[in-house]
């Protein structure tokens, strides 16, 4: 894992902990829905929080392929790259 990516994940994990009051330890393989125990409304809240904090717009049609926090991190870095 490269350093900027590691930093990006740390920011993401902090955001998830703050927004969703998650008690468990978060890793890149943490499953977004199953492990974080998110219903569909909380999942959309998370999408909005990620968009606002990282300045990206997440196309809804990409969500079905996102399973883990690592997937979200990859998506953020892809959406941010010019």
């Amino acid at each position: 894992m490269t350093h900027p990516n590691g930093e990006l994940f740390a920011q993401l994990a902090k955001l998830v902990k703050n927004e969703l009051s998650v008690g468990i330890e978060l890793t890149e393989s943490t499953r977004v829905v199953g492990d974080l125990n998110l219903d569909s409304l909380q999942a959309m809240h998370l999408v909005a929080a990620v968009e606002d904090n990282f300045g990206v717009a997440i196309p809804m049609e990409l969500l079905p392929n996102i399973k883990t926090l690592g997937d979200i991190k990859e998506l953020i870095s892809k959406l941010r790259s010019p």
Partner: protein, 590 residues
């Protein structure tokens, strides 16, 4: 002020395509549809523009090989594209089947299984969709998946409009029925016009009314209430994608405020989400005084949610009398009963213990009252009956099943005689919902059918039970799912699952069940109980008894090991549960 319903009364408009042509001819300034886009430019279309695009698209659908009476799946997240293709299909007599796009993290396997079941039931030949969705869905080549953009960019191909009668099928509505055994409500042009006409009349819609909606267009309330009804009478409608609201609830209220909108509908949970997630700092930027019909339906209405909404947004000019509690279901096209406009929400305080006896006795004072929201009078031209077990009418304040009859009621489920026969009785639709009447007004207070509604979405216990059965350690087929009232009338899902003897990982199994349900159906289980083999109530023929399990649970006698109860050791819980259930059985004489 002239009412639109006056213009339409006795008019010859018998179909929606004819209504669109009429709206296009009138070409009133400031009408038409406006599509808001999340973070993008909005698009406005006049009714003449819409008609032009619809006629073009109708030719393209024919060129695709679709003929009047053929079915195709409309799986289109872009609302502008959806609207044009949907109306084009109606124009050319082709039957659109609106489909929900995948909308959250993961869950694709169950999603595709659901789509495949719909393809099987309807025999649809094509699905029109966007390119990101085409890339991720796999239907085993059961239907041809075409890009909507390709279809719409075809060169013009002139066709004669189809001849449509009241009995012609307009579209199939698939919000009813389970994921694995979906049921499509057959909506005819006659059903559609009858329901829209009643809506226009009861809401006293005026030519200068403006509607605003974030509701999904694959669902009856969004499609018929907030898109087709405005087209039917040629008023302005503002539409935004559901995700725009679900991500940032403020966007809905901002759109109403900016557009000076007068009519908007949403389920109870949406009003609750606004109370919870709209920051107080934004209230000064909202003007909600134009909002004269704040409709609420599609799930049980909790008076506290509505009161909290009124409290929070009164400083934005929101008028509490704008609330219009409503009752309806897809089998009745959309709506059955509305509270009178400008009345606001009225509640009936009843004695809690009387409800268990099947009666709603009024409670004067005291804190033990249950407050039930009034859903108003049934539509003109329709009949509503509260029926007892023998299907004869119940007296006032006696609880029974809600039956509805009239021109909005479906002829049946598409290609499913068995389900149709179970739902219909001598022209009456058996809704499966429980309610009572007072002074001709309807109060909905429960449900007879096996259905769980959470955040406006319907879940079928059979689907949930099948998913829980997939979890390793659970005894396949020995799971019961039901909902109980949580805080207020909001439902909480309860899972009672028998587990294979010898499994010692109780907590892990509870977590595995919760995770699996979230990842497959996207539904959260509030309570998970693990039980020993043979403890779930069954009929003598071995069929699981959901209602009985729920009664035992509510009585506190089905409890065992669950994360929420957090009691004792796993083994001790197992022992206690076994003893409790044995005692119950002995008491019940089984």
């Amino acid at each position: 002020m002239q009412l639109v319903s006056d213009q339409h009364r006795g008019s010859s408009v018998l179909t929606l395509p004819a209504a669109l042509e009429k709206a296009a001819k009138m070409d009133l300034a400031g009408t038409g549809l406006k599509f808001l886009r999340d973070g993008g430019e909005s698009v406005g279309l006049s009714y003449p523009d819409i008609l032009h695009q619809v006629i073009h698209a109708a030719g393209s659908l024919r060129r695709l090989g679709l003929r009047p009476g053929d079915r195709f799946g409309l799986l289109e997240p872009d609302q502008h594209t959806f609207v044009i293709l949907f109306l084009a299909a109606l124009h050319s007599g082709i039957i659109p089947v609106p489909l929900a796009p995948p909308a959250s993290f993961g869950g694709l396997d169950v999603y595709c299984a659901h789509l495949k079941s719909i393809v099987d039931v309807t025999g649809l030949s094509h699905i029109l969709t966007s390119s990101p969705i085409k890339r991720i869905i796999d239907l085993d080549e059961k239907a041809r998946i075409e890009l909507s953009s390709n279809v719409l960019s075809q060169a013009k191909f002139d066709i004669e409009p189809a001849s449509i009668s009241r009995d012609s099928i307009a579209f199939l509505q698939f919000t009813s029925g389970s994921t694995l055994q979906p049921r499509g409500v057959t909506v005819t042009h006659g059903n559609l016009i009858a329901n829209m006409h009643a809506i226009v009349e009861r809401l006293a819609i005026r030519p200068d009314d403006i509607t605003c909606s974030w509701l999904p267009l694959f669902h009856d309330m969004g499609l018929i209430g907030m898109l087709l009804t405005p087209i039917f009478i040629g008023i302005k409608a503002i539409l935004m994608p559901p995700s725009m609201f679900l991500k940032r609830p403020l966007e809905w209220l901002k759109a109403i405020s900016d557009g000076r909108c007068t009519i908007s509908y949403a389920p109870n949970f949406a009003y609750g989400l606004c109370v919870k997630r709209v920051p107080d700092s934004e209230l000064q930027n909202l003007v909600l005084s134009s909002w004269r019909v704040a409709g609420c339906g599609a799930e049980p209405i909790d008076y506290r949610t509505i009161e909290n909404f009124c409290d929070k947004f009164k400083k934005c000019g929101f008028n509490a009398r704008a609330f219009v509690p409503s009752y309806g279901l897809a089998e009745s096209t959309l709506a059955v009963a509305f509270e009178d406009i400008e009345h606001g929400m009225k509640v009936d305080a009843v004695k809690r213990h009387s409800l268990a006896r099947g009666v709603a006795d009024p409670e004067s004072g005291g804190n033990s009252a249950v407050k039930i929201v009034c859903c108003g009078r049934p539509f003109a031209g329709h009949e509503l009956m509260i029926a007892g077990d023998n299907l004869s009418p119940c007296p006032e304040r006696v609880i029974g099943e809600i039956l509805v009859r009239g021109p909005s009621i479906m002829k049946g489920y598409y290609n499913n005689q068995e389900a149709t026969a179970a739902a219909m009785h001598e022209g009456w639709l058996r809704t499966g919902d429980l309610g009572y009447l007072v002074g001709g007004k309807l109060y909905v207070c429960g449900r007879k059918k096996d259905l769980v509604i959470i955040a406006g979405r319907n879940y079928y216990p059979s689907d949930i039970e099948a998913m829980v059965s997939q979890v390793e350690g659970v005894r396949t087929g020995n799971v019961i799912a039901f909902s109980i009232s949580g805080e207020g009338v909001q439902e909480e899902l309860v899972i009672a699952a028998e587990i294979a003897a010898g499994i010692e990982r109780g907590r892990e199994l509870v977590e595995a069940i919760r995770s699996h349900l979230l990842e497959t159906l996207g539904v959260k289980a509030s309570h998970v109980l693990l039980l020993r083999p043979g403890t779930l109530p069954k009929t003598s023929s071995g069929k699981l008894q959901r209602q009985r399990a729920k009664e035992l649970y509510v009585a506190g006698t089905l409890a065992s090991h669950s994360r929420t109860t957090g009691v004792g050791s796993w083994a001790y819980c197992q022992y206690l549960t076994g003893r409790l259930v044995r005692n119950i059985r002995r008491l019940l004489g089984r």
